[in-house]
Symmetry: C2
Subunit: 244 residues, 2 copies
DNA sequence: CGCGAGCTTGATGCCGATCAATGCATGTGG
DNA sequence: CCACATGCATTGATCGGCATCAAGCTCGCG
């Protein structure tokens, strides 16, 4: 960063080929030659401070963003002020896929901690994925995975009760953190109870109460945003509704 | 069908270029030359009788399907028998996008009336969309649109009350039917109250009661599955929560 | 130190689930 | 043609889970 002054202070060179997230991010499974090409595509990063938005609903869509470090939420809102968190994104996950449909973003992406994203100009990605089958296929998989994930959230919102929702949420979060080399049993929540509640279709008081109940039941240790999972199988059991 | 015997009785030639759905379906916005190419890709149709599945969760993914005539639902289910309708698809809409992520389908697609779909072999679609920018872009838009739609459903499931959900559902349905040349005010539901309820995260009794309430309020006329919309602005008002 | 954002916990009420009975349309076989 | 079965829809009575309202509490920070 110091040796490479650029016009935009927040934009600087990066390389997918040497990125430690390449096994989680867009480059998954690409051959060396493809990777080098990808380096020409993903040329800049952008820093987003905690609380700032990466993009807003209504913004012109030009790029996708891969989370490099940090943590984001995405939320949609209806005409009347109702709004809904649609997801939380961590390192290696893509933001902005919603924008392709209309050439405008249809949700807000907000950094929940100081973050960095890699900027992926969309038209260049289309160009490159016409050349490289593997990249094309990988990109399609990522979009499809987002659709499958959304269907899972619908199942959660449509048919689970508060405890089941929170358990499923925690298990999903730890699983993704584990894939990134973090502990499977201990985590720090980057989002408020209200944001968790919005994502899960619950009020913040219910989220808080459910955390307390899990603690009483010996499933978790909860200290504000510090969570330790004491009984993972127990949580799993809740999600699978074996208690019925 | 009579003059063209084929090995599979249910498979026969079709052409996107002469399809009356081409303004709603995959071919939207394609030039004549691209359309002709698309004809080579979308070579067969398949008939699905009411109640039968087009594909099931776990099936190997090979093709996307465009609804030609008829009506489908898609549903996901969790290990414990819980299941959730994730969408209803009508003419011109694509089925099977979930399958790309894993090479296996992750939901069931069930015909709610006797239907016909165009079979779109996925690997050939990838090949062709590497040649034709417009097709590539159109396909991406369709996937993105599905993501945006899913986010809308999350908003509905996460933050709306029963009346708002049903009103939003009816308005969405009539809007799509209208785009296909049907009446904006009169429709026949192809799905049961239970299926509507599953989609909206409600029980069938609640759906039924809410229909009755809408009728009492002069918003609808409900006779079993025959619905006539008497006060569309009234429904719209419900969705937008102006009553708050 | 004191402020404020976020979290916890309690009391109460309501929306929608649940349980249960009846109604209505379609189809089938005697 | 009617009796009966079946699947779906309606309606009522009751119950429970979560929302809502309302205090306090905790912790980080100016």
């Amino acid at each position: 960063m110091t040796e490479m002054p650029s016009v935009k202070p927040e934009a600087f060179k990066v390389a997918c080929s040497s990125c430690n997230l390449r096994e989680l991010c867009l480059p998954v499974g690409l051959a060396r030659a493809d990777l080098d090409k990808l380096d020409t595509l993903v040329a800049t990063r952008r820093t987003v401070s905690r609380g700032d938005t990466l993009f807003r609903s209504g913004d012109i869509f030009q790029s996708l963003y891969a989370v490099r470090t940090g943590f984001f939420k995405t939320c949609v809102s209806s005409e009347d002020g109702r709004d809904q968190v649609t997801g939380f994104q961590m390192a290696g996950e893509l933001l902005g896929l919603d924008g392709i449909s209309n050439d405008r973003h249809s949700c807000d992406a907000v950094a929940l901690e100081d973050s960095q994203v890699c900027v992926i100009p969309y038209d260049q990605l289309e160009d490159l994925s016409r050349e490289f089958t593997d990249l094309q296929h990988q990109f399609h998989k990522i979009m499809s995975r987002e659709i499958v994930r959304d269907h899972g959230v619908m199942l959660l919102l449509g048919s689970m009760r508060a405890e089941e929702r929170l358990a499923a949420f925690l298990l999903n979060l730890t699983q993704r953190l584990q894939a990134r080399g973090f502990s499977a049993s201990s985590l720090i929540l980057r989002m408020t109870r209200e944001e968790i509640g919005s994502y899960l279709g619950l009020k913040l008081e219910t989220v808080s109460r459910t955390f307390s109940k899990f603690q009483d039941d010996g499933l978790l240790e909860v200290k504000q945003r510090h969570i330790r999972i004491l009984d993972q199988p127990g949580l799993q059991l809740l999600v699978n509704g074996a208690a019925c």
